[in-house]
Amino acid sequence: MNYVNDFIKDYILYYSKELMPSMEVIFSQDKIATEKEAKDCLQFIELMCDQCIIDVKENKTILDSPASSHHAEKATMVIEDFIEDSGFDYLIDNDLELE
């Protein structure tokens, strides 16, 4: 994956190990190979963000930093960029409904 600082890279790998170990191989690749892998990445984003909400509520420390939604947001952006760069941008749903 590109455009990732060391902390966010470690953050993604931390939650991969915790939540979905099969993602480690996908994240170590230069590109996502199949649509199935891209869908797995999107599923991982949902799991990571849900777990982040729990970790923030429980005041957990992740990689020596207090759990924070900022880290999950940054990680989400990096993974979505990875999906886009691999040619699976059409899978990302950006529909928004505002009040």
């Binding site: 600082n5 947001e73 952006m77 990302i92 009040e99």
Partner: protein, 142 residues
């Protein structure tokens, strides 16, 4: 609190070519402190976090097109219902050692171009916050 629409933001980003910053509700526009310490994910810090290293590949995120804007808002809406919107001109005069880089389609980063202390970075980010125009708040339907 004044709610703004996507049309308001579209005008800024598409017609005025502004860079748009999406921020936590009632949070700081450029400076994220977690337990009193600057957030680790945006810049390249020394291990003890007293210094920030020059790094053109990581920085504060700004949207430069509608697709990326929606993507960032959607990501933030997992955690917040209300999201604050700020805008800045691409060519605004920034403090020394900081620069905008258009690093991806629809995305620009405010990056650090010279090594500096974290204390100096915080002061410079406060200056950048004053350069941002507060546009208002969007409320995402949940």
């Amino acid at each position: 609190m004044e709610l703004v629409t996507m049309e308001d933001v579209k005008h800024l980003i598409v017609e005025l070519k502004k860079f748009v910053r999406i921020s936590d509700p009632k949070g700081h526009s450029t400076l994220t402190l977690i337990d009193g310490k600057i957030e680790s994910g945006d810049f390249n810090f020394s291990p003890d976090k007293t210094q920030v290293n020059k790094d053109l590949t990581t920085g504060l995120s700004f949207a430069t097109n509608m697709r990326k804007l929606k993507s960032i808002i959607k990501s933030k809406s997992r955690f917040y219902r209300d999201i604050d919107i700020y805008a800045v001109d691409e060519f605004v005069s920034l403090p020394s050692g900081l620069r905008f880089i258009k690093d991806r389609p629809g995305h620009a980063s405010l990056v650090v171009t010279e090594n500096m202390s974290t204390k100096d970075l915080i002061i410079k980010l406060e200056v950048v916050a004053k350069l941002l125009e507060s546009i208002g708040t969007v409320r995402v339907k949940q």
